[in-house]
Symmetry: C3
């Protein structure tokens, strides 16, 4: 397993746990919890793949993702008290996830020779639209449209990656790490310092 | 017309009637009723086809499905009192529909040489995501996430089909019938004996 | 720039402004406003492209659409008081948009040699499903399912285009203009004379 694969698996696991816990708080049954966990974990990448024309979508060829998500749902069930007491740890995992998925989605788009601007959009979609689909299925206005710096951190990190790519000073791996850390840092700062985007009045 | 085509048409008709009656109960206008009927009838298969990369999606090449759905909407209008008095009959048609669509979706996925686990997922998506889309469009938490054995019957029947396929004891047609009957039997039993999946507390 | 391109850009701009103003009225933050503006502007065409199998979807290859939408969001912000005082002007732009997008979507579908009935559906989807996605993201039953002649005007204009195409009396450009004007005229008449589709009781 490469480091990149490990990070993808870890991010998928964290998203699945997040989805399962959200669905649980909505009083859904076991099937509902499974669907919400799947959609949260792979929804963003699925929308990206469909828009880009990568079909069958990525996770269909990599059955490991399915097992990771099932493991995430079982973990969320077994360790539910643990997770609810470890909100800070949980937040950190979610943040790690969006950092990694943004840059992975961006790279996949650039590989199709599409515009960097489109790549920034697709990177952000990969990271945050799983959560958007989760909220739509749970019949809520998507959380990320309403408060906190979340998608904005992804957009900023994605733009930084594009900039680093043009500067051409480091290897792709280093660019990846810098951009992902920027997203993670921005997201943590937003929570610590209580930043949010302005509403529009 | 083959038997398989007949079953597909009948299932599509039943789903369209179901969608039209739901939309009616929401006070939607004629266009809204049409859209909800379409989405309920072909939404699951459409999501499956998009995820698998079968585009243009199936019903675009088989214009008969469009006529079947229009017929379903007109029938729902003309026989509305009949349908509301025949809840048991209506339930039976819906159950027949999910049994058949699950296995059809599963077979379509296996034909792409994807994993049996993915095929089980895609079969279930084919059968139940039309209803999920219908509920999202009507601004409700999808019914199947909240109560009753519905998707679970599809998953069980799909797994049975995979098992029968590996056992290789019967023809594909026999496997199809056994698996579909299992779904139908489970769904009916769930209603008769008031089974439901546990909520997760 | 051809006339057709100009009309597409203008329509996209108007839809983006419409989406941004709707999102503003929901109290969303800047990111939410951006997403809703994008989804309203390109959501219908995106669904059409995905269903037809045109991927990467259209706007990914025409980066100008992204700039037009950003311009629309900024305009909606800068001229917000102007737009709210100019409801009639705004309505006119929206109406122009659906007229043009319906026929463009229809033509794109016919180019794949799909059935005229499918083309009428896809034309209508192009024009109105951006608004449907906007309403779903804002957690509302889509407006067009509930009142006013809106999609019905698109369907009527699309059918008129098909009829004109078979009559073969005029050039494609003339057919386009007649059909788009029919949609625009029907939509304006519906508002002026307070037409609506019947609810189904």
């Amino acid at each position: 397993m490469t480091l990149l694969e490990f990070i993808e698996y870890a991010g998928t696991f964290v998203f699945a746990v997040s989805g399962a816990l959200t669905a649980r708080s909505k009083g859904l049954d076991v099937f509902g919890v499974l669907v919400i966990a799947f959609v949260t974990a792979i929804g963003g990448g699925t929308i990206r793949d469909i828009l880009l024309g990568y079909t069958p979508v990525g996770w269909m060829h990599e059955i490991n993702f399915i097992y990771i998500i099932l493991l995430g749902v079982i973990s969320a069930y077994v360790f539910k008290h643990l997770f609810s007491h470890l909100r800070h740890t949980f937040f950190l995992f979610d943040t790690l996830g969006i950092g990694v998925f943004t840059i992975l989605g961006l790279q996949k788009t650039l590989a199709l020779e599409l515009s960097p601007l489109i790549a920034v959009m697709m990177g952000t979609v990969s990271a945050v639209f799983g959560g958007v689909l989760r909220d739509i299925l749970c019949n809520e206005v998507p959380l990320i449209f309403r408060k906190e710096i979340y998608a904005t951190a992804c957009i900023t990190g994605a733009l930084a990656y594009i900039l680093l790519m043009y500067l051409n000073s480091f290897t792709m791996e280093v660019n990846f790490i810098i951009a992902a850390l920027l997203i993670i840092g921005l997201r943590i700062s937003a929570i610590v310092f209580n930043w949010s985007l302005p509403r529009w009045d």
